[in-house]
């Protein structure tokens, strides 16, 4: 049975024959057009975006920005600007209560590395070093142009490979080799599963590829910004475009050294975010401006700033090497990956963690090895964007799959079908694959593309023939101490509840549970049914304990399953 309802202008093809026993019979919303609950405000122009709040006496804040990729700040002369019409206040780094932050400190991950307004050095073009608060935007612009900064340009590096060469200029003193320190131990995030080197020797073909992706700007139509104003009783109200309201609240409280109970954040109506509105730059600045002037202050990027200093999805560089058998089975895959974090950490170190959890892509490969680096360069700091940490490597993986298909003379869809995850397979990060659907997707793609599949491939199903041998952990995993770093505390990722356990020993392969039993209580790992409460999380030795862990689902996609 195939239904093709129209949603929006798009034909959506629902294939209800797949996984039919995993859904209740009647779906009330899925597959049916629905109205957004906020749509009336949108079509009448009444939805309250942050800039749609009027304040009598609103002041405007704009930043003085570095024209250099890297420079020392010798002197900032604000005297002429102070005397200009409409100027209320000039803000410098010394006015910021805690002028050093990393977004990830709220996740207990990473070291504070980024000034709100830099006082001594800039590390990317457009980095702010001062802010003007004036009565009008035009007056703020004129005063910004009148602030004289004496710069001493420094050597800079704009490319990840150049940045990790010995002798490259250090972007941040705390990471002298321009590489983030993972878990206080290594200069990269490791994934070790089996023994790729041995597998490469056994493979019929070894296929290598190099893939690169440029930074991508989220480019929301509404530029990032915030308006802050004094409320009574010592509180500050902040209207913001943030897409992570409580994250921005926490960041503002930290930077302003103020209990969050004194901050009243109003958001939720966001003019497009796509990941680019989590960096919480505008809220603390606007509130600081309101504190320093006692008046409502707006800090808003114009389009040029949004494009130049708005943090993009960072550039990535990938080197992928596969060992593949003549029949198309991929038996080993090795990655070397570089995320260009730009000048500061923001969320890139975490993007790497997410990325490595995704390797080697949706394919069952018995030997996987990855070294993934978070590299600092003098480019605009990078941050989240849709498919955070995943999009770049997926591009590399899927381009590489095509290359492998060519090497073994197979149709690329067939190659994917052959290697796709099936329910019950062991993934490289030692968890069991479930709710897989790549096989079915490939079959539909083949049908739509007019590719005739061999009968054995057309007959494959994600729910069949997984597990068993495919669920077995490698007999031996090769580990190493390469990339050891000294001098960092072994904190960072999930420090608060890091279990003392060696992931490379001991965990027996979990038993493959039957999928979606016909009746009765759902088995462990079965997908939750809508009409029943979800079962408690399984006590699987392969999954980390959950209690107490900070989950940050808008960024990480962490979910209880």
């Amino acid at each position: 049975m195939t239904e093709t309802p129209m949603i929006g202008g798009n034909m959506i093809d629902f294939r209800k024959e797949f996984f039919a026993d995993e859904r209740p019979e009647k779906l009330n919303e899925i597959g049916k057009p629905t109205r957004r609950q906020d749509i009336t405000g949108h079509v009448t122009g009444r939805s309250p975006f942050y800039d749609d709040h009027l304040f009598e006496g609103l002041l405007h804040m704009r930043c003085v920005r570095s024209p250099h990729h890297a420079a020392r700040i010798r002197r900032i002369d604000t005297s002429a600007a102070e005397r200009m019409p409409g100027v209320q206040r000039i803000v410098l780094g010394r006015d910021v209560p805690r002028n050093l932050n990393t977004l990830l400190s709220l996740l207990d991950f990473g070291i504070d590395d980024e000034p709100i307004l830099s006082t001594d050095r800039v590390r990317y073009k457009g980095e702010p070093v001062a802010a003007v608060i004036a009565a009008t935007d035009a007056q703020a612009r004129d005063a910004v142009a009148a602030i004289r900064v004496e710069w001493e340009p420094l050597p800079h590096v704009l490319d990840v490979e150049a940045a990790i060469k010995p002798g490259a200029p250090a972007v941040l003193d705390i990471y002298p080799n321009n590489k983030f320190a993972y878990h206080g131990k290594y200069d990269h995030q490791k994934l070790r599963y089996g023994d790729v080197e041995t597998a490469f020797r056994q493979a019929d073909h070894v296929v290598e590829g190099r893939y690169q992706m440029s930074p991508i700007e989220q480019a929301p139509v509404e530029t990032c910004g915030a308006i802050a104003a004094p409320e009574q009783n010592g509180r500050w109200v902040c209207y913001t475009s943030t897409q992570a309201l409580f994250f921005s609240l926490g960041t503002a409280a930290k930077v302003l050294e103020m209990p969050s109970s004194r901050l009243h954040f109003i958001g939720g109506t966001v003019g497009g975010g796509f990941g680019g509105k989590v960096d919480s730059i505008h809220e603390p600045m606007a509130i600081l401006g309101a504190m320093l002037t006692g008046r409502p202050v707006k800090f808003m990027w114009d389009r040029e700033e949004e494009m130049q200093v708005g943090a993009p999805r960072g550039a990535e560089l990938w080197i992928v090497k596969d060992g593949v058998m003549r029949d198309g089975r991929i038996i080993a895959r090795q990655f070397t990956g570089y995320f260009d974090s730009g000048a500061y950490t923001r969320l890139s170190s975490y993007a790497v963690i997410k990325c490595v959890g995704h390797l080697p892509g949706p394919y069952t490969i018995p030997n996987v090895h990855a070294n993934v680096y978070c590299v600092f360069t003098n480019r605009t700091p990078a941050t989240a964007m849709r498919g955070f940490g995943i999009t770049g490597v997926d591009f590399a993986i899927e381009a590489h799959m095509d290359k492998v298909a060519e090497a073994v003379g197979m149709n690329p869809i067939e190659l994917r079908l052959l290697n796709a995850y099936r329910d019950g397979d062991m993934k490289a990060h030692r968890r069991i694959a479930k709710n897989c659907a790549l096989i079915e997707c490939c079959q539909v793609v083949a049908e739509k593309a007019g590719v005739k599949l061999a009968p054995h491939l057309a007959a494959l199903a994600s729910t069949r023939d997984g597990g068993g041998d495919r669920a077995r952990l490698p007999a031996h995993t090769v580990t190493d101490e390469n990339g050891r770093v000294q001098g960092y505390q072994p904190w960072s990722y999930a420090r608060k509840n890091a279990p003392a356990r060696d992931p490379f020993v001991g965990a027996p392969p979990p038993v493959q549970p039957p999928r979606a039993p016909a009746a009765g209580t759902p088995a462990v790992n079965a997908p939750p049914r809508a009409d029943q409460p979800p079962p408690p999380p399984p006590p699987s030795p392969a999954s980390p304990p959950r209690q107490g862990a900070l989950r940050f689902s808008s960024l990480s996609g962490f979910r209880r399953r």
Binding site: P85, A138, R141, D142, A145, D302, E304
Partner: protein, 264 residues
């Protein structure tokens, strides 16, 4: 500094005001961005003279007030030969606002309409009353007075005029380049050929090498091939986010060939 805006009732007054410094604002689609960003400071001069918005037919063509918008051009059936060029400028809002006077001064990569005017042999009528041919005006746009109107000769055979804009984003996109060709014929031979390129230099310019090939020739496959071959001769097109100079120089011949083939 800040901006002061003056509105003058006649073109002549606006010209006199401009002579003392300042910048003229037509439709504003080019200038207002700078006003918003604080890059334009000081005097901004406008004119409310209704003559600026008038389209008149003349003995051999049309006189278009400098304040005539692209949308106005598109609303005139008699100006059909200019419609492709007018439609190629921006989206509907930009065409409702942007003027032909402003298009003569639009910086690279803009000036698609001016490219068409150049190929048609149009003349600018300055506020002082003196005419100026567009070749000169476009070559030296910085020191020019106020343009009051543009006089466009009507092509005797509308099929002798062709225009194409090459863009990556459709339907609205910045020019990789644009080409306008006026190829009148006399007894099967091309006489009085004018070909202009947009976005192939700092301002729209004549494709002299192409014109030399076409003038006096018959428009056949061999001529077209020769014209395409010399298309980029003597040009150093600019590099910008839309295309590199190398790319522009490499593809201009291909697009010229396609346009000429359409006009055979």
């Amino acid at each position: 500094m800040a901006v002061t805006v003056e509105t003058h009732g006649s073109v002549a007054e606006a010209a006199r005001a401009l002579a003392q410094g300042g910048v003229y604002l037509g439709g504003g689609t080019g200038i207002m961005r700078g006003v918003n960003a604080g890059a334009v400071q000081g005097r901004v001069v406008r004119s409310s003279d209704p003559a600026l918005r008038v389209i008149r037919s003349t003995a051999d063509g049309f006189s278009l007030g400098a304040g005539v918008t692209m949308a106005q051009v598109l609303g005139e059936r008699d100006l059909a030969f200019l419609h492709a060029a007018a439609r190629s400028v921006g989206g509907p809002q930009v065409r409702a606002m942007g003027t032909i006077g402003g298009n003569l001064f639009a910086p690279h990569p803009y000036g698609d309409f001016a490219t068409a005017l150049l190929a048609l042999g149009a003349r600018a009528l300055m506020a002082s009353g003196s005419p100026r041919n567009l070749d000169d005006l476009l070559r030296d746009r910085d020191r020019t007075g106020l343009v009051a109107a543009v006089e466009v000769p009507r092509p005797r055979d509308p099929r002798a005029f062709g225009f194409v804009k090459v863009q990556r984003v459709k339907p609205r996109g910045v020019a990789v380049l644009s080409i306008a060709a006026h190829l009148p014929r006399e007894g099967g031979r091309l006489r009085g050929v004018r070909v202009a390129f947009g976005a192939m230099g700092p301002a729209p310019l004549r494709a002299s090498a192409v014109e030399r090939v076409l003038e006096g020739a018959t428009l056949d496959a061999a001529t077209i091939a020769r014209a395409a071959q010399v298309a980029a001769e003597g040009l150093t097109p600019p590099t910008d986010p839309v295309a590199t100079g190398w790319y522009r120089a490499s593809v201009v011949g291909v697009h010229l060939k396609r346009l000429l083939e359409r006009m055979v």
